[in-house]
Subunit: 307 residues, 2 copies
């Protein structure tokens, strides 16, 4: 292989905190554009309770609109067994679970201790594997928690091992609030490697809150990681901080991988068009660097053509 | 030593393309704030012809307002011997020269071939050294030219050697339009090292146009470079691309260096206040990631205090 694998999260993590509700038809348009761009792993929606996140109240309808697409894995986020049932009713083949590595963040997010979540998530993973589903498990705040600071890499690693044991095929290490830096990323990844986890069992999920997403991706890559989460146009920021950066921008990562000669199977141009769509549907400028560069050079081209 | 040195360019490269003219008094306010933040190398203005860049028509007045500040080097950009004379009249002690490594960019910028510029810049350097001035020489488009693509590292290195020979104390390798990536940066730096140039003779000047500024800084650091240009709040983007990123944001770099335990002598909080000032004086949101994070968390704090 040697090539990188990009897990596209713009429709799920990207839209999760957006106050503007995107219509199901528009989400399906983005989905088709992502497929056209060559995405092979697309996180489509979340089966959390609709009351919790109104953006995902249409999860079932959106799942019904997924087009035929050979070789594309469509992922859904599942909070618990009930969510898994709903996902299975929608003919899901790939599910993602989530929990934080820090108690303070986990309590605020799902009102449970880390140990309680580990039990619940493990049940979801076991049932999902019995159903023959593909599985990935997010470990949030793996590179820093806004309430507890840096959680020990050993604790994060222990949780990852427990999830792998329970049936997770991939552990997605999440830098939930963008506290990660190359030093922290190295420490956490090394803890996993020291425990015998292979790079192929890990994915990294960065946020660009403080500008470190790309340098963290590069650091992870240099340590052997080849599975990266990205969000087209960097959508997925904290909605309360105006102009703040969000998820690692898929195009930024692809620009980096292109410069390194890494194969990824994605079309930059088609990704950028997906970003333009998202920007239109959300009605605001999205923060991804390469996305903004592309939007800017595009408007310059339009102006030149007019002049 | 082992510590990093940051060359602050927000008042010069940062403001160069800004259409909003900042008053001399406001520039002096930013300057004082940069000194309060601990900056030891500050590029203050440019002695180009005022007709060329109206933002610097007040170069002489601003130079007269530089406060006493022990150990701070105040730099000015000088295009030619006439500019050097004007700079000397303003009691400059440190000058920076500039030229591109690609003919196409150099022609568009100063209407000369690279060889012609090399002759002119060398004269400025020799005279500057005779006057006892500190010198740095920018080599623009060192990591990519928008017209010619990637210039060979050997050509860039030859020009750098010629400038060092002519009296440049530092070669500042400029990624003028943000085309640099870790691979290109490594190639260019390695060419200099292979030619016997020490890391201490080089500085790197990145732009974040496509999101690669920080990963390029990290790559340069890992190759031994300790001298980095930064622009507070990332000011210095192309004014024609709305929302586009500009110079490498000083705070982004400092955040990275802090995470690595690198000493730099700068106060993040005071740098951020300088960024807030610049944003107010320019009347627009500035793009630096950490700057935006700080502005966002600041407004959140204010809202929390109100609630």
């Amino acid at each position: 292989m040697g090539s990188v694998r990009v897990h596209e999260v713009c429709l799920r993590d990207g839209l999760q905190n957006e106050q503007t509700l995107v219509s199901t038809a528009d989400k399906a348009r983005v989905l088709r554009q992502l497929i056209a761009a060559g995405c092979k792993d697309i996180e489509v929606t979340s089966f959390v309770r609709p009351r919790m996140i109104p953006q995902f109240a249409d999860a079932r309808d959106l799942m019904a609109m997924i087009p035929e697409a050979d070789g594309v894995r469509f992922w859904v986020l599942v909070p618990n067994l009930k969510g898994l049932d709903r996902a299975l009713d929608s003919f899901t083949k790939h599910i993602a679970t989530f929990m934080s590595v820090s108690d303070a963040h986990n309590r605020r997010n799902v009102n449970r201790t880390v140990r309680e979540s580990l039990v619940g998530v493990s049940r979801v993973l076991r049932d999902a594997r019995l159903e023959g589903l593909g599985t990935r498990s997010y470990l949030s705040t793996a590179f820093g928690c806004p309430y507890e600071g840096f959680v020990s890499p050993q604790k994060t690693c222990e949780l990852g091992l427990a999830l792998l044991e329970a049936g997770a095929q991939t552990i997605a290490l999440g830098d939930t609030t963008g506290m990660g830096t190359p030093a922290v990323v190295s420490d956490v990844l090394q803890a996993f490697f020291d425990a015998g986890v292979a790079p192929e069992q890990l994915a990294v999920h960065f946020h660009d809150t403080r500008g470190t997403a790309l340098v963290n991706i590069h650091t992870s890559w240099s340590m052997g990681i080849r599975h990266f989460d990205g969000s087209v146009a960097g959508v997925g920021g904290c909605p309360y901080a105006h102009g703040a950066a969000g998820n690692a921008c898929t195009q930024d990562a692809i620009h980096l991988f292109n410069s390194m000669g890494e194969e990824h199977g994605l079309s930059m141009e088609e990704l950028c068009k997906a970003g333009e769509m998202l920007e239109r549907f959300l009605g605001r400028e999205l923060p991804g660097r390469y996305h903004r560069y592309w939007m800017g050079s595009r408007s310059t081209r339009v102006e030149s053509a007019r002049a």
